[in-house]
């Protein structure tokens, strides 16, 4: 697309952009943003997408924008509606980048009723408590199946909790097949051309967004997709990035692939280690050999020093058990181990089996510290951590075997079977 054509876009004016009959984008562009929520790089900026739906009996505003962009949002809103026409404000997600203009919108449209999910009132309270005078809008909390009539057309609500906050929901305009999907299917990409078919390739932005925002909630993404797929939406209108209207099903299928449950197969144990003098590496080998004796458990070992964190995260996400080995240097596990352990918050590891091991010279605190981190991640530690002073002896190698075997056994014979477990067993 020629540069001049690229400029014929929302960045050049402050007017609403039609996305379907009676449906407008009234969001804001933030091309200069370089970091989002501390954790995401946004080298292409972002958009805060808000929408307006007009029916015979009034207007609904769906989501707002970050507070600093309120003026742009109101200018776009005013280009297609008067404040007195607004009957409803729907908030699919109350995080401040989508609710920042809410207090002012409530002041300008005091007659409007607020529609939020049943999990959202406490968050709304947190957002409005410091606003003076405090707005007290008429409030309706909704659940899946509830709808809001605008006359000849209806907005239908679908609760999709934890994608990626407790309050998240989607709103569906059936007559045009437009799904206002909140942060689902979103990405950080600021392009005033607004629509996927005008922008071209941006899958990496979608994947990056998913990896940092949705991935820890893969289970909830699957549940949300189960609600959304049967609707066969013709337009996906997320709160960040392009509006998706060219074969939208491919975005749903892409999300299905990203959130896919690891394939059924033998239980997997992945062992990660780093070693200064080869002793912790020797322990890792012996643990792997011991684990390999358990029936049907697939075991792999990985040297943290030479591997890539992203690939390790994929392995850990797909594993049923993981073990981390580190030497102790200056009373701590070494930095590459912490780098990997700190990355685990971006995937769902809750409930997986885990263990820690390592060789040490003086004191061996690394193992306890790793175990604390694993417990903090809500992983289960069926076998106490294994600490060996310097070079493992034959007996100590046997202890490594036993450690590996017990960890692997916990996958095939322990918690995970159908029997009733005792609380003491799940450590």
């Amino acid at each position: 697309m020629a540069a001049a054509d690229a400029m014929t876009d929302a960045a050049r004016h402050r007017e609403a952009v039609a996305i379907a009959p009676g449906v407008h984008w009234i969001g804001a562009l933030d091309p200069a943003l370089r970091t989002f929520d501390i954790i995401l790089r946004t080298e292409q900026g972002t958009t805060y997408n808000a929408y307006l739906v007009r029916g015979r009996d009034g207007v609904a505003v769906i989501d707002t924008v970050k507070a600093e962009f309120a003026e742009e949002f109101f200018a776009r809103l005013e280009s297609v509606a008067d404040y007195g026409e607004i009957r409803a404000i729907v908030l699919n997600h109350l995080e401040p980048d989508h609710s920042g203009a809410l207090p002012e919108l409530l002041r300008r449209a005091p007659q409007a009723t607020l529609y939020i999910s049943a999990r959202a009132p406490a968050i709304l309270n947190g957002l409005l408590k410091s606003v003076v005078p405090r707005p007290k809008p008429p409030l309706v909390t909704v659940k899946t199946g509830d709808s809001l009539s605008l006359g000849e057309r209806k907005l239908r609500f679908l609760l999709t909790p934890f994608v990626h906050w407790p309050d998240t929901q989607c709103t569906y305009l059936a007559d045009e097949g437009v799904l206002f999907c909140g942060d689902l299917f979103g990405c950080h990409l600021c392009d005033g051309r607004l629509f996927d078919d005008r922008i071209g390739e941006f899958w990496p932005a979608i994947d990056y967004y998913y990896a940092h925002i949705m991935r820890p909630f893969a289970h909830q993404v699957r549940e949300a997709l189960a609600e959304i797929l049967p609707l066969e939406p013709r337009v996906l209108a997320p709160t960040h990035g392009p509006i998706l209207r060219e074969r939208p099903r491919r975005y749903l299928e892409h999300y299905q692939a990203l959130a896919r449950r690891p394939a059924n197969g033998p239980p997997r144990l992945a062992i990660f280690y780093i070693s200064a003098y080869g002793n912790t590496a020797q322990m890792a080998e012996a643990i792997a050999a011991g684990a390999g004796e358990a029936d049907g458990v697939q075991v792999s070992t990985h040297d943290i020093e030479t591997g890539e964190t992203a690939a390790f995260l994929d392995l850990i996400e797909g594993a049923d058990a993981v073990a981390f080995g580190s030497p102790t240097i200056n009373g701590d596990a070494v930095k590459p181990v912490w780098d990997l352990l700190s990355s685990l918050a971006t995937i769902d590891v809750k409930g997986k089996r885990a263990g820690a091991f390592g060789s040490y010279g003086w004191s061996g605190e690394a193992i306890w510290l790793i175990e604390e981190r694993l417990r903090g991640l809500k992983m289960q530690l069926p076998v106490p951590g294994l600490r060996i002073k310097l070079i493992p002896s034959t007996e100590e190698i046997a202890a490594c075997h036993a450690f590996g075997r017990q960890l692997a056994d916990s996958l095939v014979g322990g918690p995970g079977s159908a029997r009733t477990l005792d609380l003491a067993e799940i450590g």
């Binding site: 049943a118 477990l421 005792d422 609380l423 799940i426």
Partner: protein, 94 residues
């Protein structure tokens, strides 16, 4: 010590626990799908749906009642960080 069974419907696991154990203590260890925020009965993140054995959980405190009300909970919902197990029950994330 009296024991009770709690079943986590989302992962199909049943755990036998000493009576008085809070649901959070079990669900975190077994890897059930309830998510947690403050763990102090304030944020409402850990709301769960009690499918069976509602009377086999301790009565909600005034604080829990308030948080449940704020989150528009229905009569089957409780906070996993507050409810203590005193008899057999079956739950799932709300």
């Amino acid at each position: 010590m009296p024991k009770a069974n709690i079943t986590f419907d989302d992962i199909g696991k049943t755990v036998s626990v000493p009576a008085g154990t809070r649901v959070i203590e079990v669900s975190e260890r077994i890897g059930a799908g309830i998510l947690y925020g403050c763990r102090e009965g304030d944020c409402g993140t850990c709301m769960m749906q009690v499918l069976e054995g509602r009377d086999n959980l301790t009565e909600p405190s005034v604080l829990e009642e308030k948080v449940l009300r704020e989150n528009m909970a229905n009569g089957h919902d409780r906070l996993a960080c507050q409810a203590q197990i005193i008899g057999d029950c079956r739950i799932r994330p709300a």
